[in-house]
C-alpha cells in the first residue's frame, strides 16, 4: 500500500521533479494581469503556451520576443510549449522544432487535431509525431484520447508521460469515460496527466483520487468570473485528491456500517 507522505511526493516527468501537480494554460484570460494573478494563485508546475498563432518576435526588431512572452517568462514557471492548431504530424514536428529554438526547451506538448469541431486528437498523426520527436530528443507530453492501445503505442514510442483527455477541450464536462481512464491507470505505468475537459475542482480531485499524476487545464480557470480564485480552488482540489489517493480510499460497500457502534452501548439513548 501507499505510505508515502505528500511532502516528498514530487511529480517526476522525464527525471525532472516538480513540486506541483497542476499544469495551467495561458489562453483566454481577460487580461495578462488576470492571468498573472491566476498563475500565482495556482502555484503550478508548468505553463502551457501555444505558438501557432502567437508568433513570438514576429515583426519585432529588438529580438527580445513579444511583450506577452516576457510576461510568461517573468512568472518563473517552467514553460511547456504546445503544438495547438496543428492538423498533421508534419506540422506538429515543424512547430516543435521552432519552439525548441525560440524557448530553448526540449519540452513539448504534442497536439495533433483530428476533428475541427470537438478538437479531438488524431491518434495516428499523434503517434507519428511523438515517435519522431522522441527520436530527436524532445521531452514529449502527448495530448491523447483515453484509448488504451494508443496510450500503449505512445509509451512504446518512448513517451515517458501521457496526457489523456477527460473530455474535449473547453467543454468542462469532467471525466467522461471513467472506465477507460481507470483502465489506463491500471495498465500504463508512466505518469498520466489529465489534460482538457475539466470544468470544476471536484472533477480534478476525482482524477487525482483515481491515481492520475497531474491535471492540465485552462478554460475552467480563464473563463471563471474570478480566475485567480478559481485557480486557487483547483490547486487545493488537486492536492486534496492526491492526498486522498496516497491515503488509500476505502472500498464502497452495499451495507451501512456505522463508524461508531452505538447499538448495545449502555445509555446510548440518554445522550443530552
Amino acid at each position: 500500500m501507499h505510505t508515502q507522505s505528500p511532502h516528498d511526493d514530487a511529480l517526476v516527468l522525464y527525471e525532472e521533479r516538480f513540486n506541483s501537480r497542476f499544469l495551467l494554460g495561458t489562453a483566454l484570460y481577460p487580461s495578462p494581469q488576470v492571468m498573472q494573478d491566476a498563475i500565482e494563485a495556482a502555484d503550478c508546475a508548468m505553463l502551457t503556451l501555444g505558438l501557432r498563432r502567437q508568433n513570438p518576435g514576429g515583426g519585432n526588431a529588438d529580438g527580445d520576443g513579444d511583450a506577452f512572452w516576457q510576461i510568461l517568462r517573468e512568472s518563473g514557471c517552467h514553460l511547456l510549449p504546445n503544438t495547438a492548431g496543428c492538423r498533421s504530424a508534419r506540422e506538429a514536428i515543424t512547430l516543435a522544432e521552432m519552439s525548441r529554438e525560440l524557448f530553448d526547451t526540449p519540452w513539448i506538448k504534442v497536439e495533433v487535431i483530428g476533428d475541427d469541431y470537438n478538437l479531438q486528437p488524431d491518434p495516428f498523426g499523434l503517434l507519428e509525431a511523438a515517435r519522431e520527436l522522441v527520436e530527436q530528443g524532445f521531452k514529449v507530453l502527448p495530448y491523447c484520447t483515453d484509448d488504451l492501445v494508443l496510450c500503449q503505442r505512445l509509451q512504446e514510442a518512448g513517451c515517458q508521460a501521457l496526457m489523456p483527455w477527460g473530455a474535449p477541450i473547453g467543454t468542462g464536462r469532467g471525466l467522461m469515460n471513467r472506465y477507460a481512464l481507470r483502465t489506463l491507470r491500471e495498465r500504463i505505468d508512466v505518469p498520466l496527466i489529465i489534460d482538457a475537459g475539466l470544468g470544476a475542482p471536484s472533477q480534478a480531485a476525482e482524477a487525482m483520487e483515481m491515481g492520475f499524476d497531474g491535471v492540465l487545464l485552462n478554460t475552467a480557470v480563464a473563463k471563471a468570473r474570478r480566475p485567480a480564485q478559481m485557480s486557487a480552488a483547483f490547486a487545493r482540489a488537486i492536492e486534496a485528491g492526491r492526498e486522498a489517493y496516497l491515503a488509500g480510499l476505502m472500498e464502497r460497500r452495499q451495507t451501512a456500517s456505522p463508524s461508531t457502534p452505538t447499538l448495545g452501548q449502555p445509555f446510548w439513548h440518554a445522550t443530552p
Binding site: 481577460p30 487580461s31 495578462p32 498573472q36 498563432r53 513579444d66 511583450a67 506577452f68 510576461i71 468570473r225
Partner: protein, 368 residues
C-alpha cells in the same frame, strides 16, 4: 471659452485620442501642433482599423465594471461632440444584437451570467426569440435566441477621423504627417529638430511602447466587405466557444467584420486561418454574405497595459494617455475628459482614480 490664456500644446499621435484632444484644445483657444509618424488621411492608427462600436454592456463582459461606467460617458458625450462637428449622421444608436447558433446556446447563458455578475441582475438587455430577432433585423433568419442591448451604439469611425482632422485644420491646428517624434517634458524632437511647448501630450498608442515598459500590442485582424444583398441596422455579435466575432454595418453597403485577438506584436497581413474564421462567421450569420466582395483586410495592434485598461500619466510638461486596448471609441470620451480637466484645472473628472497611472502599480511577480 477663451478666458484661459493661450498655451502651446504638442500632441504626438493623430489617432482618435490625439485628434479629439487637439480638437478640444483648439476650441479652448490654445495653439496645437499635431504630429504623427504616418499618414493623416489613411492613418496607421488602431482607430482607423477599428469597427467603431460603442458597446458598454458587451465590452464589460470581456473586461470589468469600470469599462461599463466609462462607456456610459461615451454614450453621453458622443452625440453632443458629433453635433458640434456637424457630423450627427455618423452616430447610430440602435442598440446591438448578440446571437449564437443553437448548438452554442450555452455561450449566451454564460454571457448573461457574466453580465449579471458584473453589473447586477436586471442588466439592460432584452431576451429575444427568433421572431424578435427577425423583427429587428429582417435579414437574420437563422437564429432562435438572442439578446438585444438597446443602449449600445456604433459610429462611422473613419469618417469621424476625417471630420476631426478637417475641424483641427479649420481651427488653425498645425498638422505634421510622416513625422515620427520623441517626446520629453515640454519638448518634441522631430527628425529635423527640437521644438518647445508648454505641454506635450503623448497619444501614440503602440507607437509609444519605448516609453512604457508594460505596454504591449495585441494583434487584431478585420475584413471589410460590401454587398447589397443584406442590410443590418446595428452591430451583431456572434458568440462561439472559440471566437467571438462581430459585424458592424457601415455606409454604402459596407460591413466590417472583426476582430481576432492574438497576443502578438506582428503586423504582417491577415493569416489564412483568421480570414477563414472571420468570413465563415459572416457566412453563418447569413448566407447572403456569400457573394459579398472583400474590399480590404485590416491588421493593427491594440495598445494595452497588463490589465487591459487605459492609463493617463501626468508629469510636468508631459502627459501620456494610452492603453485603450479594444475599447477606443468606448473609452476615449472618458480619457479625453480626464485629460481636459487636468489641463483646464477644472471640470468633470469622475475617473481620476481609475485612469491615473502615476500612482505606483502593483509590481510583477519576481522570478522564482
Amino acid at each position: 471659452m477663451n478666458a484661459t490664456p493661450q498655451r502651446r500644446f504638442a500632441i504626438a499621435g493623430a489617432g482618435l485620442l490625439g485628434r479629439l484632444t487637439a480638437w478640444h484644445l483648439l476650441r479652448d483657444g490654445h495653439a496645437v501642433s499635431l504630429y504623427d509618424a504616418g499618414d493623416l488621411d489613411t492613418p496607421p492608427a488602431a482607430a482607423w482599423t477599428a469597427a467603431g462600436m460603442v458597446a458598454p454592456l458587451a465590452e464589460t463582459v470581456v473586461s470589468e465594471r469600470s469599462v461599463y461606467e466609462m462607456g456610459q460617458m461615451a454614450l453621453d458625450r458622443w452625440p453632443g461632440w458629433l453635433a458640434e462637428l456637424q457630423a450627427s449622421e455618423l452616430w447610430h444608436q440602435h442598440g446591438s444584437l448578440v446571437v449564437a447558433h443553437p448548438q452554442d446556446g450555452n455561450e449566451l447563458i454564460q454571457f448573461r451570467r457574466d453580465l449579471a455578475d458584473t453589473l447586477g441582475e436586471g442588466a439592460l438587455y432584452q431576451e429575444l426569440d427568433g421572431s424578435g430577432i427577425h423583427h429587428l433585423e429582417p435579414d437574420l433568419t437563422r437564429f432562435r435566441h438572442g439578446l438585444f442591448l438597446a443602449d449600445e451604439a456604433h459610429l462611422d469611425n473613419r469618417e469621424l477621423l476625417t471630420r476631426l482632422l478637417g475641424a483641427i485644420r479649420e481651427l488653425g491646428g498645425e498638422c505634421h504627417a510622416h513625422t515620427p517624434v520623441k517626446v520629453h517634458p515640454g519638448e518634441v524632437t522631430t527628425p529635423t529638430g527640437t521644438h518647445h511647448f508648454d505641454l506635450v501630450i503623448d497619444c501614440r498608442g503602440h507607437g509609444a511602447k519605448t516609453n512604457h515598459p508594460t505596454l504591449r500590442g495585441v494583434r487584431g485582424e478585420t475584413l471589410h466587405v460590401t454587398t447589397n444583398e443584406i442590410t443590418l441596422t446595428r452591430p451583431v455579435r456572434l458568440m462561439h466557444p472559440r471566437y467571438q466575432l462581430y459585424v458592424v454595418p457601415k455606409p454604402n453597403g459596407r460591413f466590417v467584420i472583426g476582430a481576432t485577438s492574438i497576443e502578438s506584436e506582428d503586423r504582417s497581413p491577415i493569416s489564412l486561418q483568421s480570414s477563414l474564421e472571420l468570413s465563415s462567421a459572416l457566412y453563418t450569420l447569413s448566407p447572403a454574405f456569400a457573394e459579398a466582395r472583400i474590399l480590404e483586410q485590416g491588421v493593427n495592434l491594440r495598445p494595452a497595459f497588463r490589465n487591459n485598461l487605459p492609463q493617463v500619466t501626468l508629469s510636468d510638461g508631459l502627459i501620456s494617455a494610452n492603453g485603450l486596448f479594444r475599447h477606443g471609441y468606448l473609452l476615449a470620451p472618458a480619457v479625453v475628459e480626464h485629460l481636459l480637466s487636468e489641463i483646464r484645472g477644472h471640470g468633470d473628472n469622475p475617473f481620476a482614480d481609475l485612469l491615473d497611472g502615476s500612482a505606483p502599480r502593483r509590481p510583477c511577480r519576481e522570478s522564482e
